[in-house]
């Protein structure tokens, strides 16, 4: 194989190879080339996204740690901090869904563990092609099984997430996992290596050939041969992870570690070079001291293996014995595989000989590509929507039932019942509400979590959709009564080397960044997954936002379900519904078209903040935001959840189907007892609001248009997604 063939097969371009020659001042050997290949992949090096990502605001009064560390961290109060991050495992899940999803969960848990936090909650944001296709049904079923199989066993509750189906995700599912950890602020751990002569200790499982070049695989389009890349997918062992978690937390409890880092994409290479680069030191790894799972592994294989359930720690020599003792107690492997050195290189030693040596900072400094942002041609056609060509439904009740039973709007109960969402006994609000609510034991405080993505909107308007994604997360947290404080994101996009993909990425980021500024929610961590394309095309641009909010008094929270007969229904926020890009237009008419209204961020914030304040004051216990399916679906969900009906009138000014099923963001439906109405009016001063009906009875009726019994609605809403999937 020629040199060019070699580096090309490793995913490096001519330009990048030239840069390596320049940096080293010599030709790299195969091992060194492999190190660059994995570290300069998009997955590890962010070479297409880094300049764009700098748009995100990262600072805020509660931010203790922003991007660049293993996870973002925000201060909660009473000395507590929350660490969180979301990450994709899209490509592995496309070829081996069970293990791909399972190791996605395992990987994000270790990111949280690496900052010293106990992982306490998981969320999963999933997207698949339509269930009509056998392959999509298989991927959906196995991904959900994989998440449950890993998360349930490792003992971290899966408390929320989302699932969506659309043709754009056929063959390229999106599997994003978010983990949240709880840590005493003063016990935060950094990943910066220091102290020449300190030992580098590999904790956890043995190293095998699984996941070789996984990071490179994740940075390429999926094609015909992708199925053969199953060996790029790692295999998870949640039991090993559980023991690794308990072991690391015990080591940190006794302050035995100088630094800690998880092993994820690009394995030892990535962890060791990042720890060295951050500390401005070198690290020497002796590959023959790495405990192996199989014989005959080459040093380069050991260096880039993505075997799961491993962590890298820096330990002072005098503390090694105690570290080894605790590791034994938990049945966790602990091997000294190298040491911190003063030379600044990631040096690989095998049987006493140096087999490769590269400055760590060069590995951590992937080249950056900035491209021209060109508006793609598809937008003009896709954004045009002639409402006159969309006939109103003949039977509005049937239309509502059709929407409620649509796989995108139906209850997610058949999914989340496969996840243990209560282990840890801190889950105050279980899945099904607008956001999960968790308590912090020993305090009155709580926190709320949500993940949100709006692929359809981002496809039709990347900038507006990006902003709407952040706004939706903000609204969801506000609905349960939590103050949104910060977010993590996973940017799922197509190939950035294509004009369309780059435009979508750049514009979505612009929109998200603007919303983050307007709403005061900085980005503290994130992950980028590009090249989500198959021969059928790119996925919808789908930035997924994982947002965290805080509750001073966790007992004061709201849920969507109607709790009493006779409550007044009040619609809060600026109601300007549109069918453009709506779930209704796609579900009922098969159209992904139109120019959805861009979020009106100041009014969005005012409405959400007012509702949150009313919940936190104990005034409101029933709130639900208007999202996919509009007012009609929001009302139906509230009624079905509570087992109490409602009657509502429509607000004037829009076509009836637009008013019922249209979407706009920024609106929240609350239900309050009549006697609190006046107080609520005061709390909502300055925010648009309208009384639209009252709760009661066992039907949903909307003046002359809809009149459907709750049992019929519930039957549609709670249909099992997998029974459909079973065919």
């Amino acid at each position: 194989m020629s040199v060019r063939e070699t580096y090309t097969s490793l995913g490096l371009s001519d330009l990048e190879y030239g840069r390596i020659l320049e940096l080293l001042g010599r030709a790299p050997n195969f091992l060194e080339l492999s190190l660059f290949s994995v570290m300069w992949s998009e997955h590890c090096g962010y070479k297409n996204s880094r300049p764009l990502l700098s748009r995100f605001p990262n600072e805020g009064p509660r931010v203790l740690q922003g991007p660049g560390e293993n996870a973002g961290v925000v201060e909660v109060g009473d000395g507590w901090a929350l660490a969180f991050k979301v990450e994709s495992h899209n490509h592995p899940s496309a070829v081996e869904p069970y293990e791909g999803a399972a190791t996605g969960v395992g990987g994000i848990i270790r990111d949280i563990l690496a900052v010293g936090a106990r992982p306490v909650a998981l969320l999963d944001s999933l997207r698949f092609g339509p269930l009509e296709e056998e392959r999509n049904r298989y991927l959906f079923r196995e991904v959900v099984r994989g998440i449950g199989g890993y998360g349930n066993a490792v003992g971290v509750p899966t408390v929320g997430g989302e699932v969506e189906f659309a043709p754009a995700y056929s063959g390229n599912p999106l599997v994003n996992a978010m983990c949240v950890g709880l840590v005493r602020a003063e016990k935060l751990v950094r990943s910066r290596a220091s102290g020449e002569g300190n030992l580098v200790v590999l904790l956890g499982s043995r190293t095998g050939r699984d996941g070789i070049h996984g990071a490179t695989f994740a940075s390429d389009e999926l094609g015909e041969g992708s199925g053969e890349r199953r060996s790029n997918v790692q295999v998870g062992d949640p039991f090993a992870e559980k023991m690794l978690i308990e072991c690391c937390l015990a080591l940190l409890e006794e302050d035995l570690l100088v630094a800690l880092q998880d092993l994820g994409a690009a394995g030892i290479t990535s962890s060791a070079s990042e720890m060295a680069a951050k500390g401005g030191v070198g690290i020497e790894i002796e590959t023959d001291r790495v405990p192996l799972r199989e014989e005959g592994m080459e040093p380069w294989e050991v260096m880039i293996s993505e075997s799961q359930e491993r962590m890298l720690a820096v330990v002072e020599p005098g503390r090694l014995e105690r570290v080894a003792g605790l590791a034994r107690r938990y049945g966790v492997g602990a091997a000294v595989i190298g040491r911190v050195a003063g030379h600044g290189e990631l040096r690989v030693v095998h049987e006493g000989e140096v087999v490769g040596s590269v400055p760590a900072r060069h590995l951590a400094d992937a080249p950056v590509y900035e491209r021209e942002v060109v508006r793609p041609a598809y937008l003009d056609g896709a954004r045009a929507l002639d409402l006159a060509s969309v006939p109103p439904p003949g039977d509005y009740g049937a239309a509502l039932l059709g929407l409620l039973s649509h796989p995108n709007l139906r209850s997610r109960r058949s999914v989340y019942e496969q996840y243990d969402h209560e282990v840890g006994t801190c889950t105050v609000l279980r899945p099904g509400a607008d956001a999960a609510v968790m308590r912090i034991r020993g305090t009155r405080r709580g926190y709320a979590l949500t993940t949100d993505g709006r692929g359809r909107h981002c496809y039709l308007d990347p900038r507006g959709g990006g902003a709407a994604t952040v706004a939706e997360a903000y609204r969801n947290l506000s609905c349960v009564g939590a103050e949104p404080v910060a977010l993590t994101n996973c940017l799922n996009f197509g190939n950035p080397e294509k004009a369309e993909g780059y435009y979508q990425l750049a514009e979505c980021i612009e929109g998200m960044a603007g919303a983050c500024e307007a709403l005061g929610t900085p980005v503290v961590s994130g992950n980028v997954s590009l090249y989500n394309e198959t021969e059928r095309g790119a996925v919808h641009p789908t930035p997924v936002v994982g947002m965290v909010g805080l509750l001073e008094d966790v007992r004061r929270h709201a849920t969507p379900e109607i709790k009493r007969e006779g409550d007044a229904l009040v619609l809060v926020g600026r109601f300007r519904p549109s069918l453009a890009g709506s779930a209704y237009l796609e579900a009922a008419h098969g159209l992904v078209r139109g120019a959805p209204p861009s979020p009106d961020l100041p009014s969005e914030k005012a409405a959400a903040d007012a509702v949150r304040a009313a919940v936190a004051a104990g005034l409101v216990d029933t709130a639900h935001d208007l999202s996919d399916g509009g007012l009609a679906v929001a009302l139906a969900e509230m009624a079905v959840g509570g087992g109490i009906g409602a009657e509502a009138r429509l607000l004037p000014g829009a076509r009836q189907d637009v008013a019922l099923f249209g979407e706009c963001g920024g609106c929240i439906l609350v239900a309050v007892p009549e006697e609190r109405l006046e107080e609520l009016e005061g709390a909502l001063a300055g925010v648009p609001r309208a009384r639209i009906g009252r709760t009661g009875g066992d039907r949903i009726s909307v003046l002359g248009l809809v009149d459907v019994g709750l049992s019929e609605l519930a039957e549609a809403y709670f249909m099992d997604l997998f029974e459909e999937a079973g065919g």
């Binding site: 003992g155 949640p238 006994t425 105050v428 308590r439």
Partner: protein, 225 residues
């Protein structure tokens, strides 16, 4: 009660994940929680012992199959044979079956899916140390979360369990296909109880239910201190 509170031990196997929840719930119930480590053959003077839920040893081979050989199981089995109150919850129930301290086995759920939900159950018997504070016939809503909760025993054993009044808890809505809707059984001596539902998850009104607390409190009344 004497000079000290009732000590309730909670065994931590590698892979247990409801151990801390059980310790907290025991404390809420008014007892003194004691952590018992799987590798130590020592019950630390516990008056009662709980085997918690989770995935001991990863549930590899079969749920509970490896845990039954843990060192702590020696003194635990002796304690159980002497009439000491032992409660196995979820994975703990599976361990007790594997250890033959309880009859039967827990197979994969009939729906072939992990199931995490709240289910209604009926307390069939209050004459065990773990249900003494409940009323016979009392209906509770308790969380389940398991993949292997489908109780199975041969027809003769099932008939005997029913005849001897050893079905302690019965599902009113069977989530897993269990024979005779069995959610929990007890040993011949009635002191060893296995439950698939998690009482420790229903022991705090903030989390939506306190209906499991009765089970944890039962042992306080009956324990020999």
């Amino acid at each position: 009660m004497g000079g000290r509170g009732v000590r309730v031990g909670v065994v931590v196997f590698p892979g247990s994940n409801c151990d801390r929840d059980a310790l907290h719930a025991v404390e809420r119930a008014g007892a003194e929680p004691v952590e018992l480590w799987h590798a130590d053959a020592d019950l630390k003077g516990s008056d009662a012992v709980i085997l918690p839920g989770g995935f001991s040893y990863g549930d590899y081979l079969r749920p509970g199959a490896i845990a039954r050989f843990a060192r702590v199981m020696g003194p635990l089995e002796a304690f159980a044979r002497e009439g000491g109150p032992v409660l196995g919850v979820c994975n703990g129930f599976q361990v007790l079956c594997e250890a033959h301290l309880l009859p039967g086995a827990l197979l994969q759920n009939r729906g072939l899916r992990f199931v995490c939900r709240r289910v209604r159950v009926r307390v069939e018997r209050a004459d065990t140390p773990w249900t003494a504070a409940c009323a016979p016939g009392e209906e509770l809503t308790l969380p389940v979360a398991h993949n292997e909760g489908n109780y199975f025993a041969d027809p003769a054993t099932l008939a005997r369990l029913e005849e001897e009044g050893r079905v302690v808890l019965r599902y009113l809505e069977n989530p897993n296909g269990s024979a005779n809707d069995i959610a929990g059984v007890c040993s011949e001596g009635r002191n060893v109880v296995g439950l698939m539902p998690h009482p420790e998850r229903a022991s705090d009104p903030l989390l939506g239910s306190e209906e499991g607390l009765g089970i944890l409190r039962s042992v306080l009344a009956g324990a020999k201190v």
